[in-house]
């Protein structure tokens, strides 16, 4: 039996036919859900056979469960192959498919090819390592190996396994997390390929759900518009930037040369000389905040932490972790820190140094604290520059600000101690990451004073993802300042468009001048919120306009919102929520304020 496979592109291929040499057993997979199986007579009699099977005729379709059929046919094929002794192994559910575009007679001549996998493995059966003779599974596995996952965890109404513990959350829903169980492979899985087929089918469906979710995504500040195909080759390596970016460890598989390039770029953006900064690429914005505030605390061990109430929760988490006294400062309606309240709070603790978290874009309203006014307030209340430490949490807007006119400039020429920014937000990166830049002076001081903290490793994490710096390096190189400038402009334009359209449709909305975060009344229906992945808090929701959010996408969202709203509020009983206390009377369009 010949194994013929043609996998043009694992990511894209959806139509496959599988058959044996005699064309007796045939399986055609038209898409993830429609599978056709029959003998060659049926299949060759199929009308559009010659011209590419765009679709099976309705009458000839039969519904199968995708993973089952893939699994079953792989097992059958593998058993056939095993009989002939030629040996085979399937890389994924797709790797034995034949693209249906080819005419039947030419298929036999095609070479077996695999798109994303390295090669088609062909271990002979005799080479398969047997289970060790003294292997006693009962010594390890206490319970019997659980059943395979039978349910479809991606189905909305599926019977997915749920967890019981409920907890209050703020930005999100309290949804029971579904679980894809890890199951013990059967002893013959290596031979049959059943296991790989099972996993491939799960991954294929997962990918489909990701595509769908990526399409309807408005509420989180992640730029999903990236293309890193050129970097796929690096996934084969365990790249780890152990410890300090500027001290090379003996572990050779790292990406420090990319990391330092990226750090240099950001240090220049925030105007700190190369020989005056220290920094590293973090796992996320939170790690940046944890690091910045830790440096502040080490500089001022008895300092008081000041942060506005709209500050990201990681800052308050840091206070708790580091046992710091923390003073929460009020905010203006825009979400900016209220410097009058800040002044009052500072005067309460005049004797102690101040550690201040300044938000360059708050989580909910995208508000930018006025850095200059914060510094002025400190000075006016008698704090000398050696009595305070400012950490700028630039998670989202830290990279957008430099391109916005009239924005208060984030620069180390001002008396600030550290700046952090997220890499997976405006830049766009497949995994969370961030950049942390601080003054080398602080780290050198730590290095002298704190044996454990800095002499070996002044980062928070020891092992650091070496792929993230390459993604960042790649994007910075490709886009450059000009590219980011263009994208910021586009985001701000589209955010204004969205805000204007919302208001025109009678929906209360606010957009801070320096922001692309559009805050508006929380949609009535949770299903709608979930579909568009809006982040909500109290009566408000927001859309963060990232480079991947086009006008077309916004129009789709707006049209659906307006349509749904007409249904939600079609009688007098239910009214749109009042958002005056969140975004001000002038922005509210509820029954009372419009």
């Amino acid at each position: 039996m010949d194994l013929l496979g043609y996998d043009m592109d694992c990511v894209k291929s959806e139509k496959f036919v599988v058959f044996d040499e005699k064309k007796e057993h045939l399986t055609m997979i038209v898409d993830d859900h429609t599978v056709y199986r029959g003998d060659s007579g049926e299949l060759s009699g199929f009308p559009s056979c010659a011209d590419g099977f765009p679709y099976l005729e309705e009458s000839m379709r039969r519904e199968f469960h995708y993973s089952d059929i893939i699994r079953r046919s792989q097992v059958n094929l593998a058993k056939e192959v095993a009989k002939t002794g030629s040996g085979c192994r399937f890389n994924c559910g797709m790797s034995f498919g034949v693209h249906v575009g080819a005419p039947f007679d030419s298929i036999k001549g095609l070479r077996v090819m695999v798109g994303t996998a390295d090669a088609v493995f062909a271990p002979n059966l005799e080479n398969l390592e047997p289970l060790p003779e003294d292997f006693d599974p009962t010594a390890v596995i206490k319970e019997p190996v659980p059943e395979a996952v039978n349910n479809d965890p991606f189905a909305v109404n599926g019977h997915a396994k749920v967890e019981d513990n409920e907890r209050e959350i703020v930005l999100g829903r309290n949804v029971h997390t579904m679980c894809l169980e890890v199951t013990e492979p059967d002893a013959d899985d290596d031979v049959t390929g059943e296991r790989e087929a099972y996993m491939a089918s799960i991954l294929a469906r997962y990918r489909k759900s990701l595509l769908e979710r990526t399409k309807h995504h408005l509420g989180y500040p992640y730029n999903l518009d990236f293309e890193y195909g050129a970097l796929a080759q690096l996934q084969h390596f365990s790249i780890n930037n152990l410890g300090d970016p500027f001290i090379e460890s003996n572990y050779g598989v790292h990406s420090r040369q990319f990391e330092v390039g990226v750090l240099d770029w950001f240090a220049r953006l925030w105007e700190l000389e190369k020989n005056e900064y220290w920094g590293y690429i973090t796992n996320c914005g939170t790690e940046g905040n944890l690091h910045g505030i830790l440096v502040g605390r080490e500089v001022f061990p008895d300092g008081i932490l000041y942060a506005s109430s709209d500050t990201h929760y990681s800052v308050f988490k840091a206070a708790r972790m580091y046992k710091m006294e923390c003073e929460k400062v009020g905010t203006l309606l825009s979400g900016e820190i209220d410097c009058e309240d800040f002044r009052t709070k500072l005067l309460l603790h005049k004797g102690k140094p101040a550690i201040i978290n300044v938000n360059i874009g708050t989580t909910v309203k995208g508000a930018v604290d006025d850095l200059d006014l914060v510094i002025q307030t400190l000075e006016e209340t008698g704090f000398r520059h050696d009595q305070f430490y400012i950490h700028c949490d630039g998670a989202l807007f830290g990279l957008m600000m430099p391109f916005v006119k009239r924005a208060p400039k984030v620069t180390f020429k001002k008396p600030i101690g550290s700046v952090s920014v997220s890499g997976h937000k405006f830049v766009g990166c497949p995994m969370p990451c961030g950049v942390q830049i601080t003054r080398l002076d602080h780290i050198n001081a730590l290095s002298r004073n704190v044996e454990y903290l800095a002499s070996r490793d002044a980062t928070i994490m020891g092992s650091r993802n070496g792929h993230a710096p390459i993604f960042l390096w790649y994007t910075l190189n490709r886009k450059g300042y000009r590219g980011f400038q263009r994208e910021v402009k586009k985001c701000l334009k589209n955010a204004h468009y969205l805000k204007d359209c919302l208001k025109a449709a009678g929906i209360g909305a606010m957009l801070n001048e320096l922001s692309s975060t559009v805050v508006f009344e929380r949609p009535h229906d949770e299903e709608f919120v979930r579909k568009w992945q809006l982040a909500c808090q109290g009566n408000i929701a927001h859309v963060i306009v990232m480079p991947n959010i086009t006008v077309e996408k916004l129009d789709g969202f707006l049209n659906e919102l307006i349509e749904k709203r007409a249904m939600w509020y079609n009688n007098e009983k239910i009214q749109p929520p009042c958002v005056a206390s969140d975004i001000g009377q002038q922005n509210c369009l509820c029954a009372m304020h419009k």
Copy 2:
């Protein structure tokens, strides 16, 4: 002009030919260093043209610099295409190649295909967004855009840029980190493809250096033997498991279903019921330690932290971060915690609760602390079970232990509070990650008491890499308990082989019974240490035998070490170091002890 490309496998393809319709300008890239360029007459006259060009004949080779030629040919091709107005964009240096296996006449009929990239983009030139009219680069870029990187940062003797700050380090060398600068793209880079070509050439060389470094890697506990081709498709998505694994946020592009599956597997391994555990997938072993010790401190705010002197530095870092009193406990020669000293230290602080870090495999010697003896010591000194909290740092061996006979069992049936393990070590994963499992009781208590810490998010990091859980899930599913059992066996066998060979060659060495970390005299030559990426401390070095370390690899290492040693110690002046104080007289083979 037709652009014909056939990219079978970006990772593997090394032989390409590029040509235009008239076959006038041809470029053949044979491998990373050999490039042939000429006109079609030359090329078609090439003898092995018809049967696949295994290699160019010596006389016909001409040496070019790979990146230059790729760059130049891409630029030229792009300019040609631009003239015809058909528009093109290169995904990477390879994407316009034609695999040389095909006979010339058939090439024109081939469709343009790309292996790992989604598609070949063909934006028309008119669609290219022009620079914004009001763009003022001087408002953003303070210094002139720096020159492109001209040096080869991968060359050992290159002129790579170096940083100045030096700092003492322990496990590693104080090497100046090289830097790949980020440069501002030229205005026409989008059109010419020059930028992408430049980056592709850097990445190609980087990949080559990674291949080389991965091959000679012995000193770090990373299993580099993995194959995740089936997961490459997921790199297109920004997968982020925001916050708690068991509370779904509205951000839909997550992988919680995989994460919870992996957590369930580990909870079962360590014998904690599904409804009794809480955990998450961390960014690395350090995050696990930071979390475990934080939970310990929250349970016992005035607890004393006890950790042996061979403990990973992240534990002492945690003590500093969390402002905890810390008592360093001595170790035995094996590297295990000295429970006699532990007893003495415990008695010093009888009034205060104890938080203990237990090592399941120390960093340097791979020693496993005797968990049972630690608990017994606590009980004997009068500590009730509600007066201590044990965190098990299982970074490396946490996953190997269950498969080793006579190993002290790590299980939540014993009075322990948390266990952490690294995911990129024994399991193998392209990026650092780890698993943290603790008792749900502790997290629920935190959740009630600490608003910031747990009610929203009991993890240390807010945003978490959503790819790592899928890698882990994939490997656990593929290998299962049986697979890990087999690999542990192989590692222990090979570690014994290495230790025996070292001793047979007169080299002092030690291997702990429950370990695959072979400790031996530090090689005299730093170049040798760097080549094999050995981790060193004082007079000792170690090799950690992971599943990717074969006997062949060990033989290569041994032969080179023995050969080099004969040179280093060929006269009486230089002697091999005495390692008796590190690994005991019985293991030392220095002049005095042999």
